[in-house]
């Protein structure tokens, strides 16, 4: 599975994208946050304010932290958008 990060989340994590093998126990968006937090200080820094982090599953907004990530090929994490 591919994880992609944008803006200050990308800067804090230190990479724009990465391929990961998720453990079978990681079933929801919330599980993914917990798993990322276990991977190092850079992830903890990026997810320090989890409520502001936005998530997209295969390029679709997903606002529910309990949503299943099963089958997703690409998960994006990013701050609130400031376009326009």
């Amino acid at each position: 599975m591919k994880l992609v990060y944008f803006a200050w989340l990308r800067e804090r994590v230190g990479v724009g994208e990465e391929e990961v093998e998720l453990p079978a126990t990681v079933a929801t968006v919330s599980d993914l946050f917990d798993w990322l937090n276990s991977r190092g200080e850079n992830y903890q820094e990026a997810l320090k304010h989890p409520d502001v982090v936005r998530v997209a599953l295969d390029q679709q907004h997903e606002g529910d932290r309990n949503a299943s990530i099963a089958g997703a090929r690409e998960i994006a994490l990013f701050p609130p958008m400031t376009g326009g």
Binding site: Q59, F78, M81
Partner: protein
């Protein structure tokens, strides 16, 4: 006839007159065209540029979805959305919406609706670069942008 939105994400600037013509020239069904231009602002005079990052695969899909909603909701004759990315200097264009319809209210509403949803749903992020070389800073999202979409509910 179904109307397809024209959505472009690009580095280059755009020509507003040309984009209006593309939506209205040679058509008898368009009675109103409204354009919205979003321009890089620098009230303090200290900004060297805004750098716009985006999520390419999602930005186009998301704007197309919002534009298709606008077409359906306001029965637009056409809509064009161009959003730039990369470094943009004060006074330069960032985004363009051109909304066309038989009558003016739908064209105004179509452009307003598109921009309100684009602000909170389209994956773009602005970073400020200062003239004095101080640390670059990501622009914070505004609560007022979140509440702006409530008027369409």
């Amino acid at each position: 006839m179904s109307v397809t939105p024209d959505v472009r994400i690009q580095c280059e600037d755009f020509d507003i007159t040309n984009e209006i013509s593309k939506l209205s020239a040679g058509r008898g069904d368009v009675g109103a065209v409204v354009t919205f231009s979003g321009i890089c602002r620098d009230e303090a005079g200290s900004l060297s540029a805004l750098e716009l990052e985006h999520y390419p695969e999602m930005a186009e899909t998301e704007i197309k979805r919002i534009a298709a909603d606008a077409i359906k909701r306001f029965e637009l004759s056409g809509i064009t959305v161009i959003h730039r990315h990369g470094k943009i200097k004060p006074g330069e264009n960032i985004v363009l919406v051109v909304s066309a319809s038989p009558h003016r209210h739908a064209a105004f509403d179509g452009a307003g609706f598109l921009m309100d949803f684009l602000k909170t749903r389209a994956p773009f992020w602005k970073k400020e670069h200062r003239l004095d070389g101080s640390e670059e800073k990501w622009v914070d999202a505004k609560d007022s942008d979140d509440s702006a979409i409530e008027r369409w509910e």
